[in-house]
Symmetry: C2
Subunit: 255 residues, 2 copies
């Protein structure tokens, strides 16, 4: 029997702009007693949680960070005191956020957990480019994959490319040259590809080009993390891609 009066809400903060939060997320924030805030979430989110004590628990890949076990203990301790703990995560909490481990530990400790969905940055990246992730002339789906694996190995890029789905690659900027090279073992170098940095925020930057040029052009444009790399025929619908292709064609013609 559950005697814990408090609870934990795993709350998806979306890709950046506060107004990409859901109405449900705004309600949960309004009733929060404790706010555990991720690095990737917009810091302005605290304005929606006027009664909450704010604790910052960023864990950006590779940087100094709050250990996961400590975050777990914090959530459980405050929930057991009867408080409403809101654990804020960037994007959607159920994609690449270690929510799986947090839910399992909370369930083990008999702490009630609510999950509030949100907009993942891959969707915001597509909106920025003005494209569908799954234009049906090009593909039948989209694969969200992280390039940053638990055991530091590489995803099976050949298998991913073989699906014919649009690829939305998260946490790939530090290895963009090697991953685009791996994808080109299977996909043609003229496959449309893009990088969207800070998707869905006022700082959003976009680059739409081809898989063969993506790594060099992203470096030249100074693009870095956090960013989503998009690869596949559907990306070719982006207006930027069309403009670039036209201009490249014009240049080749003139040369």
């Amino acid at each position: 029997m559950n005697t814990i009066k408090g609870k934990v809400t795993l709350l998806s903060a979306g890709p950046g702009d506060i107004d990409l939060l859901t109405l449900r997320a705004a309600k949960a924030l309004a009733s929060a007693d404790i706010l555990l805030l991720d690095d990737l979430a917009n810091a302005d989110i605290v304005t929606l949680a006027p009664h909450a004590r704010v604790i910052r628990v960023g864990k950006r890949g590779g940087c100094k960070s709050t250990p996961q076990a400590f975050i777990q203990r914090l959530m459980q301790r405050y929930a057991k005191k009867g408080l409403h703990v809101v654990r804020v995560k960037g994007g959607d909490a159920l994609l690449f956020g270690r929510a799986g481990e947090e839910i399992a530990a909370l369930r083990e400790a008999h702490v009630p957990v609510d999950i509030v969905n949100g907009v993942s940055s891959g969707f915001a990246a597509a909106a920025g480019l003005g494209i569908s992730l799954t234009h049906r002339d090009h593909c039948q789906g989209v694969t969200f994959v992280t390039a940053h694996m638990q055991d530091h190995s590489q995803p099976d890029w050949a298998a991913l490319a073989a699906t014919g789905t649009t690829l939305a690659i998260y946490m790939g900027m530090s290895r963009i040259a090697s991953l685009t090279a791996s994808l080109m073992d299977t996909l043609p170098s003229n496959t449309p590809a893009a990088v969207v940095q800070n998707a869905g925020s006022p700082q959003e930057k976009r680059l739409a080009t081809t898989l063969g040029r993506l790594a060099d052009e992203a470096v030249a444009a100074g693009l870095g993390s956090p960013a989503v790399i998009l690869v596949g025929g559907a990306i070719g619908e982006a207006a930027e891609f069309a403009a670039r292709a036209a201009s490249a064609k014009g240049f080749a013609h003139a040369a």
Copy 2:
């Protein structure tokens, strides 16, 4: 030069509950002059658009529906009159919604288009099951795929299964027996699998079992469209799955 004063907002209504709309979506609805409403969107959404004339343009797969060309003409006509047209789509507009074709046609007609992201039903399904789509002990990603292809062919289930990602299959209920059979050419029959019908709405129904039992049990439970089929190791983290596995084990032991 763009002389069209109106615009079209492609608005993601999320999986069902009104409070899974984003704050941005609520703002766009409040300023809508014309609301084009999809079958899959919650009809209560009209309460957020008090000034809008509502036009219903459902196109549920296989049923009688408003032709796409007519919807396109409606959007363009009203936008050219200087009105704010809000085209509401279930889930996220950029996943399986034919947004690609609509954006292309609007761009061709020089009609400004805004895109407002939302929560796709695959994320809501995972929230209902209380799981991450990408628990890092199990996988490095998730593939959203439609079983309902433009040319009525089947997706390449072997290639999709070979990625090792969680599969979130949309529009698959009418062929659940054949698609689970195809997946079992590659995946073991005890791979965790689930169906979530009406994910993220008060009518949500869930079934968590194994790939080998999924089709029979879904039929026995009377589950139908709209639903998301989830397949992969990460689904085994669902409490329902754990409870079932424990009970099945108990049963086998007692027998």
